[in-house]
């Protein structure tokens, strides 16, 4: 029995059904504990004050903003090569989630940056790269919405996603390169290398919680997409009969 049988829609629905509730539960518990720990139990930063606590949201969101696209690329590649319909729908289901995390990363970045830099937006290499990422998600979702026939939409958006992942890397490199001449403020503190020990555990907790939440919502959304496709197929079948 190969693992590809899970890509059969009915099989996928049957197997993922018992996973949804535990995943939500675990994500909720970890998120609650992580938030409480990171907000109530960590000290204020001696420079940044309580603003630093935004990073407990910002860092995991920024990580997922990038990694969701990787998930989509893998799912698209599997879909194109193995011709599995569920795989395309997983990629489709992930896109709005990734876009939302990207938006959260941008907004929390702005909120964190305002008191630091005295401005809501700086053309920092990392922020700019995340902003560009947002447009990649937008294009991917727009393509799904624009192509009427779902099988074509699936294949075409998979091609776009794979081309996109190559250009997302190139853009990241280009933006780094671009930022070397137009030196702006650096966000290097933000991404956790110089995080104090007191912040480390709750930050890791939040990252795990965000990932669990991501898996849970991805599963629910993928299941919804599969149901929508089945509903569409049933309607078409009825219309033909």
């Amino acid at each position: 029995m190969s693992i590809w049988r899970y890509a059969n829609p009915a099989e996928f629905m049957r197997i993922t059904d018992p996973l949804v509730a535990p995943l939500w539960g675990a994500a909720a518990v970890l998120l609650a504990v992580g938030l409480w720990w990171s907000v109530a139990l960590t000290p204020d930063d001696y420079q940044q004050g309580s603003t630093v606590k935004i990073l407990f949201i910002h860092v995991p969101a920024a990580m997922l903003a990038i990694n969701t696209y990787a998930v989509m690329a893998v799912a698209s590649g599997v879909g194109l090569i193995r011709r599995h319909h569920v795989s395309f729908l997983v990629a489709k289901a992930a896109a709005p989630v990734g876009a939302a995390f990207t938006a959260i990363a941008l907004i929390t970045g702005a909120v964190w940056g305002q008191p630091m830099w005295g401005t809501w937006w700086v053309w920092d290499a990392r922020l700019t790269a995340v902003l560009i990422m947002f447009f990649f998600y937008l294009g991917y979702m727009a393509l799904w919405a624009a192509v009427e026939e779902p099988e074509k939409a699936a294949d075409l958006s998979a091609v776009l996603c794979l081309v996109g992942v190559v250009f997302a890397f190139l853009s990241r490199y280009a933006v780094n390169f671009w930022a070397t001449l137009h030196q702006g403020a650096s966000l290097s503190v933000a991404e956790g290398q110089r995080v104090d020990d007191a912040f480390r555990t709750p930050l890791y907790l939040m990252i795990v919680a965000f990932y669990l939440f991501f898996v849970a919502i991805l599963l629910v959304r993928a299941r919804t997409e599969i149901r929508a496709r089945r509903a569409r197929s049933l309607r078409l079948q009825e219309a033909r009969a």
């Binding site: 727009a142 393509l143 624009a146």
Partner: protein
Amino acid sequence: MVRSPFAALVRRDTRLALRLGGGGAVGIAFFVLAVVLIPLGVGRETATLARIAGGVLWVAALLAALLSLDRLFQADYEDGSLDQLMLAPMPLEQVVLAKTIAHWLTTGLPMTLIAPVLGAMLQLPDTALPALVLAMAAGTPALSFIGAIGAAITVGVRRGGLLLSILVLPLYIPTLVFGARVVEHALLGLSTAGVMGLLGGLTLFAAALSPFASALALRINAR
């Protein structure tokens, strides 16, 4: 004159673009007009204009290339020519390559030729103009190649022009960054060789990827 199917296709598309309604000349007019609007918007100080000239020319070039992209495959898709081209005695990847080259010949090449005039109007010093022309020559093919992928993906979408721009503009970011940077380096008297290498490399990469990705998308759309 070379008599190969490939050359015949390049000639055909070039001719179609140059005919009335083909859009080739309109794209160039757009390029010029977009650049002319800039001083009217940002003011006529020499230093400011020279400083932004490279970026302005590249952004205008991206938009002008984009304008003619939606007809790259769509016209042939709508009138059945694409079906016939798929049966032509060459792989679809070569068909895409020929059409993309024709697109560059009618957009990127004339933009490259007219760029020094516009650069001078934007107060770029004469010393920076050769770098500008070289950068356009090395970088504008990437615009056609990358754009072809987007055009192939959206070929079946009615009024797909807007969608096409949403898909393609983010993919243009590396070209824009490196292209504008060459001009900037020339302006500051720095060496342009390194950036030019990156820009050329990007174009080669796009040229290698685009025929396969575009042909794949066209085949999906033909079903």
